[in-house]
C-alpha cells in the first residue's frame, strides 16, 4: 500500500531540512495498485458478482442514486480524514451535522430572505459552526492534552443535547427551495451537490499533497515528536485538522438538510460507522500518517454500494448493519496488519 509518510519532515531529524522551508520531496502519491485502486477493484468485483441476482443494481436510476447518496457522506468523510491522518478521531461529526442542520435551517427559515441569500447566509452559519466546534475540539486536544476520543465524545454529547434542547426535539421547516434543488436535483445526470463536493475533494487533495500543511498533517500523524523536532507546529496543525473536519462536516450537513428539506436535531446520528468505515476502507490508517482523497472516494463508494446492494437484495436493516460492521472490521484488521508489517 502507498505510504505518504516519507516526506522531508520524516527523515531523521539530523538530516531533515527545516519543515517550514517547504523544500524537499512531497508526500508520495500511490503508484500502481494503491489503496484507491484496490478498493475500487473490490467495489467493481462486488458489483459484478452481485449483478446476476440483483440486476437493478446496474439500472441507471440506481447508479444515480448511489452517486447522490455518496456525496454528503464523502464531504463528512473527507473532513474526518484530516483528523485521522493526524492520528486523531472526531466522534463529534454526527453532532456537528445535527447542530449545523438546525442552526443553518433556523437562519434560512427566517422570514424576509430570498432563496439564494438565505442559502448563502445559512450555509456560512453552518460552516462557521462546524469550524468553531472543530476549533474547540482541536484546542482541547492540544492545549489541554486530552485524548481526542474523550474530547470529541464530550463535544458530541453537549452538542447533540444543545440541538435537541434548542429545537425541543422538533424539526425546522420552510427552507428555501433552492436548497432542495441543490441537494436533490441534477443537471444532465450530474447532481448539483457534486458541484459542491467535487471542488471540496480537489481542495482536500491539493491541501494534502501540494501544500506544506498537508505534509505537516502526515508528519504529525506518523510521529508527532519527530515532527516537532523537525520544526512542524504540531499543535497548530492538529487544531487545523479539527477545524477542517468541522467545516467539511458542515457541508455534508447542508446536503443532508436539503435532502430532507428539514433542519433536524437528530440528523446524521447513525452515520459515524459509515464515515470511519469508508475512510478506513479507503486506506486512511487509524494509526495516522496515511490516507488519500482518491482512497476515501473509493471507500465511500464501496460503503454506499454495500448499503444499496443489500437494500436491493431485500436484507433487513439489521443484516445491513451487521454486514457493514463485518466489512469495516475486515478493513480495520487489514489496516492493523499493514501497520504491524511496517513496524516490523
Amino acid at each position: 500500500m502507498p505510504a505518504y509518510s516519507n516526506g522531508p519532515l520524516l527523515v531523521p531529524a539530523t538530516a531533515a531540512p527545516p519543515a517550514n522551508e517547504g523544500t524537499g520531496a512531497r508526500p508520495r502519491r500511490p503508484s500502481g495498485l494503491g489503496s484507491a485502486g484496490l478498493v475500487l477493484m473490490l467495489a467493481v468485483l462486488y458489483f459484478v458478482l452481485l449483478l446476476p441476482v440483483a440486476p437493478d443494481l446496474a439500472n441507471i436510476e440506481n447508479l444515480k442514486l448511489i452517486l447522490s447518496n455518496m456525496l454528503p457522506l464523502l464531504a463528512v468523510t473527507l473532513g474526518q480524514t484530516f483528523v485521522l491522518i493526524t492520528k486523531g478521531i472526531d466522534l463529534s461529526v454526527t453532532a456537528i451535522i445535527a447542530a449545523a442542520s438546525v442552526a443553518g435551517a433556523a437562519v434560512m427559515a427566517l422570514p424576509g430572505w430570498t432563496g439564494a441569500a438565505a442559502l448563502l447566509v445559512g450555509s456560512l452559519v453552518m460552516v462557521g459552526l462546524g469550524a468553531a466546534v472543530g476549533l474547540i475540539n482541536g484546542l482541547a486536544v492540544t492545549k489541554l492534552t486530552m485524548p481526542p476520543f474523550m474530547v470529541t465524545l464530550s463535544t458530541m454529547m453537549a452538542l447533540s443535547g444543545a440541538a435537541v434542547f434548542g429545537t425541543r426535539g422538533t424539526g425546522i421547516y420552510g427552507l428555501p427551495a433552492v436548497l432542495a434543488v441543490l441537494s436533490q436535483e441534477e443537471l444532465g445526470g450530474v447532481p448539483y451537490a457534486a458541484l459542491l463536493v467535487v471542488p471540496l475533494g480537489v481542495f482536500a487533495h491539493v491541501l494534502l499533497f501540494r501544500t506544506l500543511l498537508g505534509r505537516w498533517l502526515f508528519a504529525v500523524g506518523r510521529n508527532p515528536k519527530t515532527a516537532r523536532v523537525s520544526g512542524v507546529p504540531v499543535h497548530r496543525t492538529i487544531v487545523l485538522a479539527y477545524v477542517l473536519c468541522g467545516g467539511f462536516t458542515a457541508v455534508g450537513a447542508l446536503l443532508y438538510t436539503g435532502r430532507l428539506e428539514t433542519g433536524s436535531p437528530v440528523l446524521g446520528q447513525r452515520i459515524f460507522l459509515d464515515v470511519v468505515g469508508a475512510a478506513v476502507m479507503g486506506g486512511v490508517s487509524l494509526f495516522g500518517g496515511k490516507g488519500s482523497v482518491a482512497g476515501v472516494l473509493c471507500g465511500v463508494l464501496f460503503i454506499t454500494l454495500i448499503d444499496n446492494s443489500l437494500d436491493i437484495l431485500g436484507f433487513s436493516s439489521f443484516a445491513v448493519l451487521m454486514t457493514k460492521g463485518v466489512v469495516i472490521l475486515m478493513a480495520a484488521v487489514l489496516d492493523a496488519t499493514r501497520a504491524r508489517r511496517v513496524a516490523a
Partner: protein
C-alpha cells in the same frame, strides 16, 4: 522514519509486496462475501411475477410498530403480493435512501411509516415523480404538493370514547375522602406528533364533558419516553397525592405508570377502595394483560389488522387508478372490563406472542 538496507538486516517488506498482500486479502474476502450472499440469495429466490410493494418503517422500536409490521407483512402475503422491507432505525435520511431505492427498483407501490410529517415529503415527491403510489401509515404528511394517501387511526374519537368511559366509572366511584371531584393526571406523548395531539385533545374533550366529576390537575409531557413518563407521573403523584384518574396516551408507557402508582401505594385492582381509574391507548400485549388481570379499566384500541387491510386496499386502489380518499381512518374500538370477553380477542396485543405478567 528512515530505513537503511544493510547487509544481514531483516528486510522490511516492500510497499509493493504489502499492497499485493492486501490485494490478495481483499479479493479473497470480497469474493467470499459475495459468494455467500449469492448462495443465500440464489438458494431462496425463485422467479417472481407477483406485484412488489416496498414497505419502509421508520422504526421497530416498540411493540406497536413490530406488530404493525408483521401484520402488514401477513396481509401482503395473504394477497399474494411480494414485500420488500426496509427499516430505517429512526434515521430519516436512511429512510429517504431506502424509499429512493424502492423507486429505482420500480416497485408497484410503497408503504411508509414515516419518522415525521415533514421529512417524508421528499420521499413522497420521489415516488410521485416515478408514478408510484404511496400510502403513509399512521402519520399524515405536512401540507405540500406531494400526493399520498394516509391510513391512520381516529386518535381523537377513540381517546374521547375511552375517557368518556372512564368518566362513567368516575361517576360510579366516590372521589377520595375530602374531595368533591376525581383529580386526573394525563400522560401526553410527543406534542410534535400528530397522534399525540389527537389523543391529548380527545382526552380534554371528554374531561370537559364530565368536568363536574373530574378535574385535570397534572399533565405529564412524556415525549414518548418511558423514563420521562416515570419521572413525570411520580412527580405528579407527589404533588397531588389524591389523584384517582390516570390516562396514558400510549400503552407502551403503562409500565412507567404502573411503577409510579406502585411507589405511591395506588396500584390496586378494579373494585378495591384505592383503585385509580386507569385508561390507556393502543391495544398492546401489556394493556391486554392488565385488562385481564383487572388493573386497567379501559383501553382505546387501534385495530391494526383492519388498518393493514385499509393500507393494502388503498395502495391497490391508487395503483388501479380508482379514487381513494387522501385520508382513511380506522375508527378503532374501546375495550373495557365489561366487553373484554367479546372485544378483547380483537386487540392486536392479544395476538402477539409476548406474555406479560402484571405483578401485583
Amino acid at each position: 522514519m528512515a530505513h537503511h538496507s544493510l547487509p544481514g538486516c531483516v528486510r522490511r517488506p516492500s510497499k509493493r509486496g504489502d499492497t499485493r498482500a492486501s490485494a490478495r486479502w481483499g479479493l479473497w474476502l470480497v469474493s467470499a462475501w459475495a459468494l455467500l450472499v449469492l448462495t443465500g440469495v440464489c438458494g431462496c429466490r425463485k422467479k417472481d411475477d407477483r406485484l412488489t410493494v416496498g414497505v419502509a418503517f421508520e422504526t421497530l422500536q416498540t411493540e406497536y410498530w413490530v406488530a404493525s409490521f408483521e401484520i402488514m407483512k401477513a396481509e401482503l402475503e395473504r394477497r399474494n403480493i411480494r414485500m420488500l422491507e426496509a427499516i430505517a432505525d429512526g434515521d430519516a435520511n436512511r429512510q429517504l435512501e431506502q424509499v429512493k431505492t424502492f423507486v429505482a427498483r420500480r416497485v408497484d407501490g410503497i408503504i411508509i411509516a414515516p419518522k415525521d410529517a415533514h421529512t417524508v415529503i421528499p420521499m413522497v415527491k420521489a415516488a410521485n415523480r416515478a408514478g408510484i403510489p404511496v400510502v403513509l401509515y399512521n402519520r399524515p404528511p405536512a401540507p405540500s404538493k406531494a400526493k399520498s394517501i394516509t391510513v391512520g387511526v381516529d386518535n381523537f374519537s377513540i381517546t374521547r370514547d375511552t375517557v368518556l368511559h372512564m368518566c362513567e366509572l368516575a361517576r360510579q366511584v366516590k372521589p377520595p375522602e375530602g374531595k368533591r371531584k376525581h383529580e386526573a393526571l394525563l400522560v401526553m406523548g410527543d406534542l410534535g406528533d400528530f397522534n399525540a395531539i389527537g389523543r391529548r385533545d380527545g382526552f380534554l374533550s371528554a374531561v370537559e364533558a364530565c368536568h363536574d366529576r373530574v378535574e385535570v390537575v397534572s399533565r405529564v409531557p412524556s415525549e414518548w419516553n418511558q423514563e420521562k413518563a416515570l419521572a413525570g407521573v411520580t412527580n405528579g403523584l407527589q404533588a397531588h397525592p389524591n389523584i384517582s384518574f390516570v390516562f396514558t396516551s400510549s400503552d407502551f408507557l403503562l409500565p412507567s405508570v404502573m411503577s409510579a402508582l406502585k411507589a405511591a401505594g395506588k396500584w390496586e385492582k378494579v373494585g378495591s377502595d384505592h383503585h385509580v381509574i386507569l385508561g390507556a391507548f393502543d391495544g398492546d400485549a401489556t394493556a391486554y394483560a392488565l385488562l385481564r388481570a383487572g388493573y386497567l379499566d379501559v383501553d382505546g384500541v387501534q385495530d391494526v389488522f383492519y388498518q393493514s387491510q385499509l393500507v393494502v386496499d388503498a395502495l391497490l386502489g391508487a395503483r388501479a387508478g380508482r379514487a381513494v380518499a387522501p385520508v382513511v381512518l380506522d375508527p378503532g374500538l374501546v375495550v373495557h372490563q365489561g366487553n373484554l370477553g367479546t372485544l378483547g380477542p380483537r386487540m392486536w396485543g392479544a395476538a402477539v406472542s409476548k406474555v406479560v405478567k402484571p405483578s401485583s
